[in-house]
């Protein structure tokens, strides 16, 4: 059993993580800049950490706060969404995300949408991948041993695993659809959405900075977007949005 555990640990340690983990000193510097109201410096520090491959929800959270203080609601929204994807159960991240979403004019969700978004806050995509992966292994082993030894104990384990696997796999599909298949982006500045991808076309409606949109297609420098929640669609300049 110990050998199996060692193999697992070895496997997870082998998953490549290429990142320069920032030092405590760098972190203190960016915090100091923030507390002194020099938000530009704080933004620079945090962006540099992310650029070096450091992936941490709280760095995104602090970066979002810095952008918010610097009057950049669009990038504040973008980074809080990234933070929420990595740490969906964190209450502060949830609170700030909802607050910025309100500022960006996101309409209230209906009950079904509310339930789906709450379900997505249970576990992060990475956590779900690991859980489903481990459950698949346990399921294979328990069913296999049951076939070989015919012991009821393994059958019970298999049934429990199958139930857990179904729930987690369903949740994983939902998360993967929203975060991988569906291309979500954030509007970086208040923009007019047009009915056609033409420069001189009149704006059909406007979207506020920070609004979450779904990218439907791209045509040169134009992107066909759909507003999440209320579903209005139109064309927007590629530079005015950034994918989460």
């Amino acid at each position: 059993m110990n050998k199996v555990l060692i193999i697992f640990l070895l496997f997870f340690s082998l998953i490549p993580i290429y990142a320069n983990v920032p030092t405590q000193e760098q972190l203190s510097q960016s915090l100091e800049s923030y507390q002194n109201g020099v938000y530009e410096n704080s933004i620079k520090e945090y962006e540099l950490m992310i650029l070096n491959g450091f992936n941490n929800p709280y760095i995104y959270y602090n970066l979002s706060n810095s952008y918010y203080r610097n009057n950049d609601i669009g990038r504040a929204s973008l980074n809080i969404e990234r933070a929420l994807r990595l740490a969906p159960r964190d209450k502060d991240i949830q609170y700030n995300r909802n607050f910025i979403a309100q500022l960006s004019g996101e309409p209230e969700q209906n009950i079904a949408e509310h339930i789906v978004s709450k379900l997505q806050l249970i576990l992060s995509l990475n956590e779900l991948v690991i859980i489903v992966f481990l459950l698949t292994i346990i399921l294979c082993i328990s069913i296999g041993i049951y076939f070989l030894k015919q012991k009821r104990f393994f059958l019970n384990i298999s049934i429990i695993c199958l139930v857990l696997f179904s729930l987690n796999a369903g949740l994983l599909c939902l998360k993967a659809y929203n975060e991988v298949i569906l291309e979500e982006a954030i509007v970086l500045s208040d923009t007019q959405v047009k009915n056609k991808p033409i420069k001189n076309e009149d704006g059909a409606f406007s979207v506020l900075a920070g609004r979450k949109v779904i990218v439907l297609s791209e045509l040169g420098r134009w992107v066909n977007i759909k507003l999440s929640v209320d579903g209005f669609s139109g064309w927007i300049d590629k530079n005015s949005i950034e994918k989460i």
């Binding site: 109201g37 709280y58 760095i59 990595l86 991948v129 992966f133 296999g144 579903g231």
Partner: protein, 572 residues
């Protein structure tokens, strides 16, 4: 008089010969004389081989068409040139005369007139006339004459009497002169002129952006329906053998007359709202202390383009300060609503009034501008001390919000690297392969064990019983044919084979005494053994002898054998 008639006759003969001659040398054809804008026409030019310098042949310039050479080939003594031509504009156009030269003689074709229309009329009627079709599509709007920015519903309606193989797919036009919201679909069965139709509707809210006659291009619906074989009366076979027919239909274009909004009486605060609206304002608290935030909500509800409505002006007294406004949009059925939620901070004590908020819209029914207003709201401000988590600072005013709305920065971050998208890591799949292989191995093992554990003796007996019945059936057939030799041969074999399969001894080659002594070892009744012995004696006697038995005797033997096999099956 006679001379004149003769001259006419000569002229006519000359003319006919010229036409005939021209037909032989040069022919020009066009496949259609009326065409939709953007659709292809095929121009065919036939020129006789007798013409010299054919390689220098060129079409005349046609500025109203895009001309692309298609195919050149020879047919008999003619060279045939084909071209794809596409009209550039709507109207009447002419394909000019084509000229070829035959030994300095100029041969010219007649010009051909073409009518180019936006949509062919015949197509429109065929799609909408349900009396001719079991499947049809139509497009319509709820109001034909509207004002700029007034809400209309564009409905694409598809109806059919056929059973569909799948849901219809629809392609709406670009709606280039409209603001468009998301489309809703509904489907179901409807009784039209006493007949049951499947009806599929796509309803889209539209808001025209310009005045004038605006044309909504046709929509397209693609369906796959089932065509049943009328000859087959069996309903089940009908469904199984149904053919899937693909069908594509275009709807009719729809013309909307859009009027500009009148300039007379246009209020100053009018921002473009057209329809029927209502406005309400409310506060969350009517009694607060100085600096305590009040949430003011202004809600506009109506049946117009809610996205075109901007925040109405709130004229607050100077001793009240307004901060951020959050906007919420909601659309439900025919009505849309927009909520503007603002934070107000009172600065001085006393009974203060938040004045009513004005909102103007154009009512298309009464054809006039309407100015509506919310009630004034009285708020009592007392001189207490409002304790906040974090004080409101100027920087917060810049961000257009109050500071307590955002959670503070995190200072105690654990420097832990989180994985990027693990779902994209193929390593997981490779790791799972041995586990899946183990599962397959154990499954195969279980199947093998189950196969090995089957009762072989039972299976053997079952197979023997089946074989025995087969020979018994053969015996019955021989009995009907009165073939004595074959009958007793089959009866003999039927009993011996069954005994062999049950006891695993070679009964086929045993003599009857051996069989008897063998059977006595099993728990078989004496009478049954005697019966078996008797039948075996009969078989030996009648199979190879000249003594003829009656059919009645054979029937008796057959019944006995059947009885013996059934009894043996129970005992052994």
């Amino acid at each position: 008089m006679f001379e004149f008639k003769k001259n006419i006759l000569v002229i006519m003969l000359l003319f006919i010969s010229t036409v005939l001659f021209a037909d032989d040398i040069l022919n020009v054809f066009l496949n259609k004389r009326e065409v939709e804008l953007g659709k292809l026409l095929t121009l065919t030019v036939e020129i006789s081989n007798d013409i010299e310098n054919l390689d220098k042949f060129e079409l005349p310039k046609m500025p109203d068409f895009i001309v692309l050479p298609k195919k050149n080939y020879k047919k008999g003594n003619k060279n045939i040139y084909t071209y794809d031509i596409t009209p550039k504009n709507i109207g009447f156009f002419s394909i000019p005369s084509i000229v070829v030269y035959d030994k300095d003689k100029e041969i010219t074709s007649e010009p051909i007139n073409v009518k180019v229309v936006k949509y062919l009329q015949s197509k429109k009627s065929s799609y909408t006339n349900k009396s001719n079709e079991n499947i049809f599509v139509e497009a319509y709007i709820d109001i034909n004459s509207i004002y700029v920015n007034q809400q209309i519903y564009y409905t694409l309606k598809f109806s059919t009497k056929f059973d569909l193989a799948s849901n219809p797919t629809y392609f709406l036009p670009m709606f280039k002169d409209f603001w468009k919201s998301e489309s809703n679909t509904k489907s179901g069965y409807k009784l039209i002129d006493g007949e049951n139709y499947f009806v599929f509707e796509v309803i889209t809210k539209l808001y025209p952006m310009r005045d004038g006659n605006v044309i909504i291009d046709p929509s397209n619906v693609k369906v796959e329906y089932l065509k049943y074989d009328d000859v087959d009366n069996n309903e089940f076979n009908k469904i199984l053998n149904a053919k899937k027919i693909k069908y594509s239909l275009n709807s009719n274009p729809v013309t909307v007359r859009v009027f500009p909004l009148p300039e007379i009486g246009k209020p100053e605060n009018f921002t473009g709202a057209v329809g029927k609206y209502s406005i309400v304002a409310s506060v969350d608290k009517k009694s607060v202390v100085i600096n305590e935030p009040i949430s003011l909500t202004v809600q506009i509800e109506g049946n117009g383009n809610i996205n075109a409505i901007s925040e109405p002006e709130i004229k607050l007294p100077t001793d009240m300060k307004k901060y951020a406004t959050s906007v919420y949009t909601k659309s439900k059925g025919f009505t849309n609503s927009k909520r503007f939620k603002s934070v107000i901070i009172p600065l001085i004590e006393g009974e203060k009034t938040i004045p009513g908020v004005y909102f103007s819209y154009f009512d298309p029914d009464s054809k006039e501008y309407v100015n509506i207003k919310t009630d004034d709201i009285k708020v009592n401000i007392s001189s207490g001390v409002y304790v906040k988590d974090i004080e409101v600072k100027q920087s917060d005013v810049d961000t257009q919000n109050i500071d307590k709305s955002i959670q503070p920065i995190k200072s105690d971050i654990k420097l832990k690297q989180y994985h990027h998208m693990l779902i994209k890591n193929k390593m997981f799949v490779f790791i799972l392969i041995p586990f899946f292989m183990f599962l397959i191995y154990s499954l195969v093992y279980r199947i093998m064990v189950l196969y090995m554990q089957r009762d072989i003796v039972k299976l053997q007996k079952k197979a023997g019983y089946k074989k025995s019945l087969k020979y018994l059936h053969e015996a019955y057939k021989s009995m009907q044919e009165e073939n004595q030799e074959k009958f007793y041969f089959n009866i003999n074999l039927s009993i011996r084979i069954f005994l062999q399969s049950c006891t695993n001894s070679d009964y086929i080659n045993m003599i009857k005494e051996e069989i008897k002594s063998n059977l006595n070892k099993f728990q078989i009744s004496e009478s049954l053994v005697i019966d078996i012995e008797k039948i075996l004696i009969d078989c030996e006697l009648f199979q190879f002898s000249y003594i003829k038995t009656t059919k009645l005797q054979m029937e008796d033997t057959y019944r006995n054998t059947k009885y013996i096999i059934e009894e043996l099956d129970k005992v052994l």
